[in-house]
């Protein structure tokens, strides 16, 4: 499991490879907060290479969403597979996040 970060124009794109769970959530949180501290405002987290997410992973996404918004920024999620879509629907977090089907659509939505 790992996280890679790159810039696409003005957007910081984070790829989550493997799981986003209690054992690695802090790593993702810190990476995004570091970018936020550098003054970045637009964030996209891409789950196309993600296996599963647990409640701790969801908690980190909620936390990051708040912190980014507090700094006047925006967060988008993209490429949730069917299981991840179900997870967001079960927890109703699909109503809290802006979720795009593809990375391209997410990038266009900023």
């Amino acid at each position: 499991m790992s996280f890679s970060i790159k810039k696409d124009g003005e957007v910081v794109v984070v790829d989550v490879e493997g799981q986003l769970i209690v054992g690695n959530r802090q790593e993702l949180k810190q990476k995004v907060l570091d970018e936020l501290e550098r003054g970045e405002k637009k964030f996209l987290i891409d789950f196309s290479q993600t296996g599963y997410i647990d409640s701790s992973g969801l908690g980190v996404l909620v936390s990051l969403s708040k912190k980014i918004r507090e700094q006047g920024g925006e967060l988008r999620l993209a490429n949730l597979n069917d299981d991840l879509k179900t997870l967001f629907e079960l927890t109703k977090l699909d109503t809290l996040f802006q979720i795009a089907d593809t990375r391209e659509r997410a990038l266009q939505s900023f």
Binding site: M1, Q19, I21, V22, G23, G51, Y52, I53, D54, S55, S56, L58, G59, V60, V62, S63, K66, D82, D83, T86, L87, L90, T91, K92, L93, T95, L96
Partner: protein, 150 residues
């Protein structure tokens, strides 16, 4: 409360996974993968092996490590899973005193709770498994989850 699983061993029709881990969240993925693979070998539905089992078991292990054993690596978490063609029964035991499953019924999907960062673990276990219950154990606390094979 029902009794804990007995000492049955693996054979062609039944797979048993039994493992003790220190209270360290870095062990969770390995245990989940062991159980997930055995469910796969019993032809569970893909959604169950890719979603229901990994997420619910991660939650149970996380609860045992962080809440039951307070993240103390000197304390052990015991996992015993029984998998056959009818389903999975997995028990996760810690050295804590446990908690009342029925008292932890707050709904994380209400407008008041939706933006909370925590409080979804037990909710997901219940949603993704057919049954979640505490079982009798000589010491510590044991949670049993049951999932019928699709």
């Amino acid at each position: 409360m029902p009794p804990a699983l007995n000492d049955e061993r693996s054979d062609d029709r039944v797979r048993v996974v039994e493992v003790d881990i220190p209270s360290d969240v870095r062990y969770i993925e390995r245990v989940v993968e062991l159980v997930r693979r055995e469910c796969e070998s019993m032809a569970f539905a893909k959604r169950q092996t890719a979603f229901n089992v990994p997420v619910a078991l991660t939650e149970a292990l996380s609860n045992a490590i962080l809440r039951g054993n307070h993240d103390d690596p000197a304390k052990q978490v015991h996992v015993r899973a029984r998998i056959d063609t009818s389903g999975l029964i997995v028990e996760v035991g810690d050295e804590g005193t446990g908690f009342d499953l029925d008292s932890a019924l707050s709904d994380p999907t209400t407008p008041d709770n939706l933006a909370r960062e925590d409080g979804r673990g037990l909710f997901l276990m219940r949603k993704l498994m057919d049954r979640v219950e505490r079982v009798d154990a000589p010491s510590g606390s044991v949670v049993r989850m049951t999932l019928h094979r699709e």
